[in-house]
């Protein structure tokens, strides 16, 4: 980890010329190469957070990087791919993944398609949640964009149909994306981490997911409103190995799970205000044996303001609540995580930024039922009700 942190430090200190996107030509077409990297440090007051051991001296096991290549083949056709790698405590652990790789064909501004591994459009930031340099905050509101389980919603293998339809000067513009495909959870994500922490073998989670996003750029300058829907039919394959007995294969099927998300964004000069609400319904288990339902709801209100040309400050309140009423596997109950956040971001130049952020959390979700930042395996002493966290993060992109 220290070696990687040193390399990132070297990159951060490198000349600006290094940090410009690189172009070269293939068949007389420009190929663009871009990339990003970030390094974070997290210290918490009590509980260990995000699978890192953060509560004593803090942890720097918070590194991400990615790189992409893309080419505009014709006016309508573009192709590209991006790899992504991270190490977040026990998650990611330096196993690179194909983040996206697809071909996009755009007949008209109001009609285009994408096919391949495509980032999933869901709410304001699902498809950009791991692109730290695009956001004021070091961590997006965890009630909607939990960083430890990004792989459960980040991309799908399938396709999109998308477009933007101008409604006239008085009605704004309507943009749509409809998508369908298969999603495989990462072997190194939060869900796999939780299952392995319970002494089980994680084999796979995947299945059909489909949904749509509709967003309206209203005629009121700076105001965007939108709604997203995602339907899920996943299958979880896992196993238990008992010495002397062998391995017992188990399967859990989701049953028409869904997520609804509503959002709004308002930009006024240097002020940006976001508000989002998400409700997810999860019905999973083994038919005839045990089934359970999870009903989780999250919302946040975030605001940020550019106080200087290269300095932006922000704050948000993130509210997460999970109801687990029919506990056949885990103890039934409810959990919450209410997070008050203050943050500051300094852009050293166009390519390098540093963020410092304070989190003041009440609650820790329902760690036995679903991953949401806090895990029993990282907190064998038991979880305390409140956690304060300091997050410092630096990164660059080119």
């Amino acid at each position: 980890m220290h070696r990687v942190a040193c390399w990132i430090f070297v990159f951060l200190c490198a000349g600006q010329s290094l940090l410009c996107g690189q172009d070269f030509k293939v068949l007389d077409r420009d190929v663009q190469i871009h990339g990003f990297a970030s390094q974070g440090f997290v210290h918490t007051s009590d509980n260990n957070w995000l699978t890192m051991y953060t509560s004593h001296f803090g942890s720097g096991e918070f590194t991400e990087f990615g790189a992409n290549a893309s080419m505009q083949v014709t006016d309508q056709l573009r192709i590209g791919a991006q790899i992504y790698d991270r190490n977040l405590g026990g998650i990611g652990t330096w196993h690179p993944a194909l983040d996206w790789a697809y071909a996009q064909y755009k007949w008209k501004p109001w009609l285009g398609i994408r096919a391949g591994r495509v980032k999933t459009v869901l709410g304001l930031y699902n498809d950009t949640q791991d692109l730290d340099f695009l956001h004021t905050f070091a961590l997006l509101p965890q009630s909607l964009y939990p960083i430890d389980i990004r792989d459960t919603s980040i991309a799908h293998d399938g396709g999109d149909i998308f477009g933007s339809i101008p409604l006239g000067a008085k009605r704004g513009t309507l943009s749509y994306t409809a998508w369908a495909g298969n999603r495989d959870y990462s072997q190194y994500g939060g869900v796999a981490y939780l299952i392995r922490a319970d002494g089980l073998n994680f084999n796979s989670v995947g299945g059909l997911q489909y949904g749509a996003d509709l967003r309206w750029t209203t005629p009121l300058k700076g105001l965007l409103l939108g709604i997203s829907r995602m339907n899920v039919d996943n299958t979880l394959n896992y196993s238990i190995t008992e010495p002397g007995i062998g391995t017992l294969l188990l399967r859990s099927n989701d049953n028409s799970d869904w997520t609804n998300q509503y959002y709004g964004q308002y930009t006024w000069g240097k002020l940006l205000v976001d508000v989002e609400y998400r409700r997810s319904w999860d019905d999973a288990g083994q038919t005839g044996l045990s089934r359970f339902q999870e009903d989780s709801r999250g919302w946040y209100l975030a605001g940020s303001y550019q106080i200087l040309k290269r300095v932006r400050v922000g704050s948000y309140y993130s509210h997460y609540f999970i109801n687990f009423p029919l506990g056949g596997v885990e103890p039934a109950g409810t959990g919450h995580d209410y997070d008050k956040v203050v943050s500051g971001r300094v852009d050293i130049n166009r390519y390098v930024n540093i963020k410092i952020e304070g989190h003041f959390m009440d609650g820790y979700g329902l760690p036995g039922a679903t991953p949401n930042g806090f895990y029993y395996v990282n907190n064998p002493q038991g979880l305390r009700p409140n956690t304060n966290a300091l997050v410092v993060k630096g990164g660059f992109n080119f």
Binding site: D30, Q32, K119, L131
Partner: protein, 232 residues
């Protein structure tokens, strides 16, 4: 005594405005240029925005276009604020979102107006923006039509604005940019000052409100530029 006080106030206001005047005048005088291979001689503001936000790469007449931008500068700031409705920081975030989700490319960026003009002159299909003082040899200047596609309604009656004597005597001039709403009967229903000296803006607004356009089927909006040349 009252006239003397008013005169003094005008002079103080004019002198206070001298510093930002250059920027404001620049904001009203961005010139949009294109490589001669681009067939169009004019482009609507909406189409220009679509090109620079990479929503489209061809104009209505079929011309292929690619945007080229400056990295910084007052002309750059004015252009993206007035035509794209974004700050430089917002625009960078927008382009990086496209690039890192695979939906678009980072557009070509150069350091100065003269580099933009030179790049546009030698590269087919490119479209950029420069200050009016920049040499535009080898490129064509595109006229910007109204904010709406049907915004080019014919002007029937034009009333020239009154040039405030104090400003003219101090050789304070420039251009004023206004966004106006034209009623179906051709009268100017409302005006919005987009750029320029505020005192000249008041004078321009008073004159433009008396302009009359040809009647049309619906209310339309357009942007106009009113020049104030102190040497005339």
């Amino acid at each position: 005594m009252r006239n003397a006080t008013q005169h003094l106030r005008t002079l103080i206001a004019a002198s206070l405005l001298m510093t930002p005047l250059a920027a404001l005048a620049g904001s009203g005088t961005v010139r949009v240029i294109a490589n001669p291979s681009v067939k169009a001689d004019a482009i609507s503001a909406a189409e220009l925005k679509s090109v620079f936000l990479e929503e489209t790469s061809s104009l209505r007449d079929g011309s292929h276009v690619e945007p080229v931008l400056a990295r910084s500068g007052s002309v750059h700031e004015s252009f993206i604020r007035e035509y794209l409705g974004k700050t430089d920081s917002d625009l960078q975030t927008y382009y990086r979102t496209l690039v890192f989700t695979g939906r678009g490319s980072m557009p070509r960026e150069v350091s100065s107006d003269s580099e933009i003009a030179a790049y546009v002159a030698r590269t087919r299909g490119t479209i950029g923006y420069v200050s009016p003082e920049t040499s535009t040899e080898g490129v064509k200047t595109l006229a910007i039509l109204g904010m709406e596609s049907d915004g080019n309604r014919r002007l029937i009656t034009r009333v020239e604005p009154v040039y405030p004597r104090e400003l003219q005597s101090k050789h304070i001039g420039g251009t004023v940019r206004l966004r106006i709403t034209i009623a179906p009967n051709g009268s100017v229903e409302s005006t919005e000052l987009l750029g320029g000296n505020p005192i000249l803006g008041e004078s321009a607004t008073a004159a433009v409100k008396r302009w009359v356009y040809a009647a049309g089927p619906a209310r339309t909006k357009t942007e106009i530029v009113v020049p104030f040349d102190p040497s005339r």
